[in-house]
């Protein structure tokens, strides 16, 4: 991220009065980005170059002293571990440098709205976690188990005296950016939820104009983070103040003002799916217990699919918050062999009511280590699982192909043997996997042709088939 800071007026309402943008050029490439007022008389334009080499820029502003400011900088090669932004890659994802990105996300809606010590605890647990994406809200969340007030808000003002939707609170945004940077430093994507239905601060009742004003500011500040994704809403249809047209309009506005084309979607409540076939939707971000349904959608819409809420591991008395870790692991594996990615969530109750799902804190569940095991397996073998080459019911339980590798997950099934019909002239290695015990056992190191492998006839087993 390149950031250019100017000094300017503090009088009036700089958020509204000063209209700043800049055009960045490199060879034939030209990109216009919006600037923003960062508080204390500072105006900034931020830019994420997507090509190495020399970039030039010039500002455009309705304030003369900030207009036509020019500069030049060198975009150097990415540092180690920086693979760039995540992009849609067929039915999967990859980074800008071509490396595969397999989304193994988690959810903590309001972790950035908690006190610094708790947020740092969340970051610590995230760093040790298997996750490479987190779903999180820009606006604070109010719901059962999360009734505390946040320290600061996106807008100026407070709940008692009301918020001024024409002025932002730079302190809030500085904190959010700190968290985004910390996530980026540990290789984690931030799936930012831009609107949601759970709160009583008035952010749900903003007008379409106020929504756009908010989004423009947000895009100016955050779009140049390479690790951000846009999630228009969580459980969109519970947000009764917005119509389907409103969502379309919000999406159009973001698409027009995000120069980088970050992944973008919208998340549903199980009672109502969204029409993810719309052009602006880059990937399916569904909530359902049914991974087979997600696969159906993925195939029908030809877009990558993430089940961003398959259920939470936990022990809450609430229906949505008490799946067993075994069931979570089962849903992950069922998803992955169908080329469906799954997002984790955790809802174990503790006396402090610091529940990962909303406040962050410490991850304690038993599915996590199994998700790490699965992620490692997928990444090490670079398994983009879609096609199903096995015949018969194999296609219901397997993903991949004979050229690039295949994963078969038997789930509740426990066949005592499995027969392959391998393509002529090719040899394969077969590894038996226990998805819960996280063990791998080589069953066959070289097999070919019509080949039957004996299996232990126990549930929760999988086979990894690797071409030699």
């Amino acid at each position: 991220m390149y950031e250019y800071t100017l000094k300017g007026p503090v009088k009036g309402n700089p958020f509204q009065d000063v209209v700043l943008s800049a055009t960045f050029t490199h060879g034939d490439i030209s990109r216009e980005v919006k600037g923003f007022y960062a508080g204390e008389g500072k105006y900034k334009v931020r830019f994420m170059p997507e090509e190495e080499g020399e970039w030039k820029f010039a500002t455009v502003c309705n304030i003369k002293s900030l207009n036509n400011k020019k500069g030049v900088f060198q975009c150097v090669a990415p540092a180690a571990g920086n693979h760039g932004k995540v992009n849609i890659d067929g039915l999967h994802f990859s980074y800008s440098d071509g490396t595969s990105y397999f989304p193994f996300g988690t959810t903590s809606y309001a972790w950035t709205h908690q006190c610094d010590s708790l947020a740092r605890e969340s970051l610590k647990t995230l760093e040790k976690s298997p996750f490479n994406k987190i779903r999180m809200c820009v606006f604070p969340k109010r719901y059962r188990y999360i009734l505390n007030e946040p320290e600061y808000f996106a807008f100026a003002g407070d709940k008692k005296n009301g918020f001024d939707f024409t002025r932002f609170n730079p302190e809030y945004w500085d904190n959010l950016e700190l968290r985004l940077q910390q996530l980026q430093d540990m290789g984690m994507e931030a799936d930012l939820i831009l609107f949601h239905p759970y709160g009583n601060w008035g952010f749900q009742e903003m007008t379409p104009e106020q929504d756009k004003y908010y989004l423009e500011y947000l895009l100016g500040r955050l779009a140049s983070f390479r690790n951000v994704w846009w999630s228009l809403a969580n459980e969109y249809h519970l947000l009764k103040t917005k119509s389907e047209e409103d969502w379309d309009e919000i999406a159009r506005f973001i698409k027009d003002n995000d120069p980088y084309n970050h992944p973008i979607s919208i998340h549903n409540h199980p009672a109502q799916e969204y029409d993810w076939s719309k052009n602006w939707v880059s990937h399916i971000s569904i909530q359902t217990h049914d991974q087979i349904r997600v696969n159906e959608l993925k195939v029908a819409l030809q877009k990558p699919a993430i089940n961003d809420e398959c259920g939470y591991e936990g022990d809450l008395p609430d229906e949505w918050g008490n799946l067993s870790p075994e069931e979570i692991v089962h849903r992950y594996w069922t998803g992955i062999v169908h080329g469906v990615y799954t997002t984790h969530g955790e809802t174990y109750l503790n006396p402090q009511e610091v529940i990962w799902w909303s406040k962050g804190g410490e991850l304690v569940g038993e599915s996590i280590s199994r998700i790490r095991f699965l992620r490692n397996l997928i990444e090490i073998n670079d398994l983009k699982l879609d096609y199903n080459k096995p015949q018969g019911w194999g296609k219901h339980v397997s993903g991949g192909d004979f050229d690039n590798g295949m994963l078969i997950y038997f789930g509740h099934h426990q066949p005592g043997s499995w027969t392959f019909d391998f393509p002529e002239g090719k040899q394969y290695e077969i590894t038996l996997i226990d998805t819960w015990e996280m063990t791998e056992k080589k069953l066959e190191s070289k097999c070919s042709g019509k080949f039957t492998v004996k299996l232990p006839a126990e549930p929760g087993k999988a086979l990894l088939v690797t071409p030699l």
Copy 2:
């Protein structure tokens, strides 16, 4: 069962030439039953009286020597353990004496078509089993893993020279009746599958007239067994030689010729449900993995529902034959709290290919002991589970009511607590159940009002709530 035997002609085709029936009367009750030729010059009429006391009868026959034969007999009180025929009782079943009948069946399609020693082995295992019903075919079965020829067939003739659909083979029927009696002696209902699609002996290609001829003989011989049920077909729509009208006609014929109104249904393949709303259908006999769907149907049609094929426990390489015992137990419990009964099946491969599902033999699976545990629980507490009194998501996981007892099955959910809102002035006992370990632990011996019980937050748990 009362049986009256007459001696008559052996010449010609006695099955066809002699038309015998009898009318049995007791007070105002009058029942007409068809007689049948039992071979070796013996003609029989069988009758199942449903009232104690003196019954009189007189035959009607187109052969003078068998016509207007009269008799009288005393129907005495039922022996211990004889509760009579099973009847529909709202959304459940009960015996004629009012005792609840909870169907916990199993499936062994062709066990009566195997050699005597194997059939006796099957009976031995059944006697030790938790089952009180068995689904079994009248016609032999030919399918993967069951390719042996049966010893005898329902009709005269053989495969090589063809069958004579106008003559029956009494040896076959004697054997079938022996098995039905043996089942009855151990308190087991026989859900007789009258037609099915798996075979190459020509029984699928009989004409509607031949079908009725067969059914009339079958009803004359078997309807007086108190433990028979009629299942028109297994996976009816795979039997391409019969149309929907044919099934209706078969059903009408049975209803007209079964004086006792035995339970009657037809079984589907998952690819196509049957319209069980039809008048003649006494109960739903579905095949599906989805117990929630069965409950939907039960509620919509207001008929008791048995999931007669929820999947088989086993280790076959075939998709339909390798569910884990854990999953089977999960389906049973999911079913029962919805007031849905489930039928067991087992498909473990052995070197002899004697698989319980078709040939019988020995039950070896791990779900059986858990099914026994569940059946005991249901019977001891006489739990007819339909209504759902708990509020919220409790209605998704529980059955029963506050007056008669309630069962809650959490399945993959593992709440750390559960809150009841008991009706005023009533007290309850709460027992924690581990559905796999088969343990019962009294959590509370006397609770009332709004009451929260702590739970262990592990999957596969259930609560039994008993009014004091």
